[in-house]
Amino acid sequence: MKTFYKKFSEKFIEGLLMLSSTITTLTVVLIVVFLFKEGLGVFNKKPVEDGFVIALNKQNPVNKLTSAQLKNIFDQKITNWSEVGGKKDSIILFRMEDITNYYSEEQIGEKFERLPQCIGKVVDSLPNIIAFFSTKYLDKNFQGKQLDIDKISFKEFFGGKEWFPTAQPSAQLGVLPLILGTLWVSLGAILLALPLGLAAAVYMSEIADEKVRKVMKPLIELLAGIPSVVYGFFGLVIIVPLIQKVFDLPVGETGLAGSIVLGIMALPTIITISEDAMRNTPRAMKEASLALGASKWQTIYKVVVPYSISGITAGAILGIGRAIGETMAVLMVTGNAAVIPHTILEPVRTIPATIAAELGEASNGGLHYKALFALGCILFIITLIINLTVEYISNRKKYNNR
């Protein structure tokens, strides 16, 4: 009986342990499911908010407008129907509040009870009108033509150059400026951090004596431990005003500020990983080099660095990954303008910062909400690729050593 009990509890515990170890796998799977379910939903939606229609006069030959055209029409950048394939006639914009230009309040009625008919009549009477109003006020026997708007396409989403998710009547969901902004800031960060980090890694693993190393190592770990929001705060009160002053800019919140802060944050990753790799250089190799009369410095750049190059690469890539995924610090210092950056002295906006800044305002399950989840998917895929690359690099190294 006792052995049975013992056996049973052994099995039970093993089951419990196994269950715990599957939780990470389960989490990754769940993250993928939830993120992509919501994120891909964006391609099932129309850029015009649910509950609104865009209508034309029935004589208008135009049947379809893209979301960019819609936006330009309502921004009055397109003012003639011929620009979107219609007759040569100027465009008349009509929004719900414009009804007062056509009808008096009495005609509309106190509780807007006659508003649907009024809108119908306006659209009917003006052949070159484009009207945007709520389906609530759509008349039962509406004579106009309701415009067919395409669902958001992959091409529009990934190639679009404008990100105005709350624009009326048609949301602009081009992620190109956000992707470029993210890469731009991260690239700047790694350009700053890589030389510094490598120098420190070489110094700590090859040059400094054990005492200095013992002091520096925990300091680097401390640098990794400082919360990102504190980095952001530091960047906001020190680096941003400094940049503004040095480059004489109207605002200091720029891509450069983001790159500097992210660069500092990426340092510990680069240093720890490449230092580890350098310290793993076989002693025999180094001593062989020294015995041939090479100086310590020659040994470092001819033996140690080439030997540990895959570790250094892994560190650099992971550093980029850190920078791409970083949210708070970037959100606080880059100025968050969703435009394609041309210089490092312009405000930029990254993918994580966009999610953090806008998710609070996006209505649950709406187009904007789904678009932000789609951004999360992009971020997830980028970091997954980075992780797999690093793994591939370090596995290849092991294989070569055998």
């Binding site: 196994m18 919501e38 120098a199 997830f380 992780n387």
Partner: protein, 294 residues
């Protein structure tokens, strides 16, 4: 043919080396200087703000005066909640990985997935926590949802440090115990875990430091902009230190006047991280073994 002057060559070699070494040394010192610049800036600006009232009172007058007590309590709740989830699960998972499962496809998959989880940006955890805990499971913006989200974020850290700690235990202990007729679990519980315990605790402390500073995962799962009362249940919203600092420095009602409070909050955060790091390092030194982070 003229032979190169050996003496000159050696001299040049030496000069190159000393120039290169000096550059490396200076750059390394520069990094340390950056660290100290950040730390000392926050310490000097924040030290005047922090006093007993600051850490025990509610925020007042649009967060420009008063203390940060609810934010401290909120962060403590989140840390405790996330560790209640991540620590047992992480340690058990690591035990399974290191003591039970044999090398093979399952171990490979679990390892790969743990690595992937570790690489996912914190804002993605925030999105996930919002869609699963807040919306799907109807926890609402709550300490529960925030703790679980943070717990998932900390899980890979706990697993990794625990695995390192278990790996550091010499195999002869296991063999001796098994040889005496102890079962696998008895060996793990009475022999392996006690030896690995200090290093596991070190990992726990480091993940506490990490969790207490995370902002992005709690933005949409728990954090309240301003809430001058303490949470009473795990389904309440709460303020948290990192989010408080973010709000104060970017979107507060009066940014200039709330700056001192922001400095104070940053300092409290830094102090928590410092204590966690010092404690972890002290433990490491005390037990003479090293848990590798990352």
């Amino acid at each position: 043919m003229k032979m190169p002057d050996e003496n000159k060559l050696a001299k040049q070699k030496k000069r190159n080396q000393s120039i290169a070494f000096w550059i490396f040394r200076l750059l390394s010192y520069l990094i340390v200087a950056i660290l100290f610049a950040i730390l000392s800036f926050i310490v000097f600006k924040g030290i005047g703000v922090i006093n007993w009232n600051f850490i025990t009172q509610m925020p007042e007058e649009g967060m420009t005066k008063g203390g940060i007590f609810p934010a401290i309590v909120g962060t403590l709740c989140l840390v405790a909640g996330s560790m209640l989830f991540a620590f047992p699960v992480g340690v058990l998972a690591a035990i399974y990985m290191n003591e039970y499962v044999k090398d093979g496809i399952i171990k490979k998959i679990i390892k790969q997935m743990t690595n992937n989880l570790a690489g996912i940006p914190s804002i993605v955890f925030g999105l996930f926590g919002m869609s699963l805990f807040v919306n799907k499971l109807h926890f609402g913006d709550s300490i529960l949802a925030g703790s679980l989200t943070l717990g998932l974020l900390a899980l890979p850290v706990v697993i990794r440090t625990t695995e390192e700690a278990l790996k550091a235990v010499d195999n002869t202990f296991r063999h001796a115990s098994l040889g005496l007729g102890a079962s696998k679990w008895q060996t793990t519980r009475s022999v392996v875990l006690p030896i690995a315990f200090p290093n596991i605790i070190t990992g726990l402390i480091l993940s506490i430091g990490r969790v207490s500073g995370e902002t992005a995962p709690i933005l949409f799962t728990v954090a309240a902009y301003f809430l001058p009362k303490l949470p009473t249940s795990i389904f309440d919203q709460a303020m948290a230190l990192p989010y408080h600092l973010y709000v104060l420095s970017t979107s507060g009602t009066n940014i200039a006047e709330s700056r001192p409070v922001a400095y104070g909050t940053a300092l409290v955060l830094i102090i928590i991280v410092l204590i966690a790091n010092l404690l972890a390092n002290g433990l490491r030194k005390y037990f003479g073994k090293k848990v590798k982070m990352n």
